[in-house]
């Protein structure tokens, strides 16, 4: 299974276990900036850790501090290995844009239709620097 996704923010290619979120998430209040753990008790993936995972996001909601949480995760090593977004979210991705300005290494962020997310659930996924997404079966 593979697909080539549009690159939203270039960055380091990543591989890790897929974490496919089944509901939109607010990074601020929803993800612990220290640990990358999903802290929103109402979220279906509550308790999962996004650090080192290939994170599939069907959508984002809520606070405009999502960028700060993602940048903090980049800075402290708790960021996802790669981000796969259904649609570009300028608030969240700003965390990567500013981290790049600061000279920190950021994970790649790509765009993929959320209808295609299911094929990657639970797999070991690689997102290459050219946006190619592959899953080991």
């Amino acid at each position: 299974m593979s697909a080539t996704a549009e690159i939203l923010v270039p960055g380091k290619a990543g591989e890790g276990e897929a974490l496919v979120l089944t509901a939109p998430i607010s990074f601020w209040g929803g993800v612990d900036p220290k640990t990358g753990r999903i802290a929103d008790v109402r979220h279906p993936q509550h308790g999962e850790v996004i650090a080192g995972r290939v994170l599939f996001l069907p959508g984002t909601i809520g606070s405009s501090s999502a960028s700060a949480v993602l940048m903090e995760l980049v800075h402290n090593g708790g960021a996802p290995a790669a981000l796969v977004l259904h649609e570009p979210d300028a608030i969240l991705l700003l965390g990567l844009i500013v981290a790049r300005e600061m000279g920190w290494q950021t994970p790649i962020a790509v765009r993929l239709d959320r209808g295609a997310f299911d094929a990657y659930r639970g797999g070991a996924v690689t997102v290459a620097a050219d946006g190619a997404i592959t899953v080991a079966v």
Binding site: D40, T60, G62, S67, G95
Partner: protein, 417 residues
């Protein structure tokens, strides 16, 4: 369409100073959003000065070192510390020092020391139709919806970058054609007594956010202006449960004299008819605690309490002594009025903990409890308190919050939807 920068903007982008960094952030965001150009802005509200970790402090200090200054009026959202010294923040070193450095860096960038999530009640009210760059989801939705100024939901860092460059990507809600409603959220099936109650607005806001997501809707069936604090509560709840940046209320908000005027087409794409059941479910969904016998605290003031809301609080407490504290979060604009006539001292003598410049869900203030129960009348606190404080939440009206704080156990007055 690709982004075209003016020669002047291109020259700034190439710079190695703070202004260059800010312009690159604005331009890169514009590219990501598909904006064709940048537009001038009249003001900014900066949400980036809240400490989430060292990275944000290092970014702000990099801008200061690069000689950057804001080029338009820029108010500051809450920080992580109560600089007025009203409440004790349990943030320890070294985080405390980094939070203070961050707040100081934003001051050096030329931002106003407003430290409030309700800048629109602290004298920052941009004109109808003007373009601005505001952060903080409740401030954004109020600015767009109630004031009719035009802003997108600016994330941390882009807000300060826009303030420094005095520019924003020409995109989204800056464009009049994107401000029209596609959905109708019809509340005319709800009882007039529910619609007149204080809890109606946060509850309906929470439901609205969940139903419309990031689409633009117009609320139909509201008779008479519910008051600015009600609209503040509606918007804050809607922006917590959905990605709402703009709502209209027919006959109430400035761009919607009536439903037909604000609709994008002759017919709405969908009509959400709000029933008693939907409102009751939305209300129940704001609570996470299951029938606790006691409560540990009450928190109010998200968004920050206005002067009028302090009037209601004082009237409801009526000089009684509270069993559990009420954390009343506000900005220094409201505090100044409270100090004037000794009201702050009276409220504190009753057991109210006034929190200024910040609030209980963004920085550690309330004691750490393993199974704490927090009561609130704020849809936004109800949404964020469980994740950010570890407290389970009970949602209730301000009157019930005050009675519960006096007794130490939850009291609910039945308000039928």
């Amino acid at each position: 369409m690709s982004l075209a920068l003016s020669p002047q903007e291109q020259a700034i982008v190439a710079g190695q100073d703070g202004a260059g960094m800010a312009m690159r952030i604005v331009a890169e965001s514009a590219r990501l959003l598909g904006a064709p150009r940048l537009i001038p802005i009249a003001s900014a509200h900066i949400d980036g000065a809240l400490y989430h970790g060292d990275s944000g402090t290092l970014f702000a200090e990099r801008l200061v070192e690069g000689g950057a200054k804001v080029a338009v009026r820029s108010t500051l959202n809450v920080g992580a510390l109560d600089l007025m010294g009203c409440s004790r923040i349990r943030l320890e070193e070294p985080q405390r020092g980094m939070a203070r450095r961050m707040m100081e860096a934003y001051r050096k960038l030329g931002c106003e020391q407003s430290w409030t999530c309700a800048p629109y009640q602290a004298g920052h009210r941009p004109a109808l139709g003007s373009n601005v760059a505001w952060g903080e989801s409740n401030a954004v939705v109020f600015c767009n919806s109630v004031l009719g100024a035009r802003t997108n939901r600016y994330g941390d860092f882009l807000d300060i970058a826009c303030a420094i460059t005095a520019r924003a990507p020409d995109y989204g809600l800056h464009r009049p054609e994107n401000r029209r409603a596609r959905l109708v959220f019809d509340v005319s099936g709800l009882s007039p007594s529910f619609l007149a109650s204080e809890i109606a607005w946060p509850v309906l806001g929470s439901l609205y956010g969940r139903e419309v997501g990031n689409a633009i809707g117009v609320v139909k069936g509201v008779t008479g202006h519910p008051g600015e604090d009600a609209l503040k509560a509606f918007g804050a709840a809607a922006a917590s449960s959905g990605a709402v940046g703009l709502f209209h209320i027919a006959g109430v908000t400035p761009e919607a004299p009536d439903v037909a005027t604000i609709l994008a087409g002759p017919e709405p794409e969908a009509v959400i008819r709000v029933t008693h059941d939907m409102a009751a479910k939305a209300r129940a969904g704001l609570s996470t605690a299951a029938a606790p016998k006691t409560i540990d605290a009450v928190a109010i003031g998200s968004p920050h309490l206005s002067h009028d809301e302090f009037d209601s609080l004082e009237r409801l407490i009526a000089g009684r002594r509270l069993t559990v504290p009420i954390y009343a979060c506000t900005g220094r604009h409201a505090l100044a009025l409270l100090e004037k006539d000794g009201r702050r001292k009276r409220l504190e003598a009753s057991g109210v903990v006034i929190v200024a410049d910040t609030c209980v869900v963004v920085t550690p203030i309330m004691p750490e409890l393993s199974s704490g129960v927090l009561m609130t009348n704020s849809g936004k606190f109800a949404h964020y308190a469980p994740g950010n404080t570890g407290y389970a939440v009970l949602y209730a009206s301000l009157a019930d919050c005050v009675e519960s704080a006096v007794l130490g156990n939850p009291v609910f007055t039945d308000i039928a939807a």
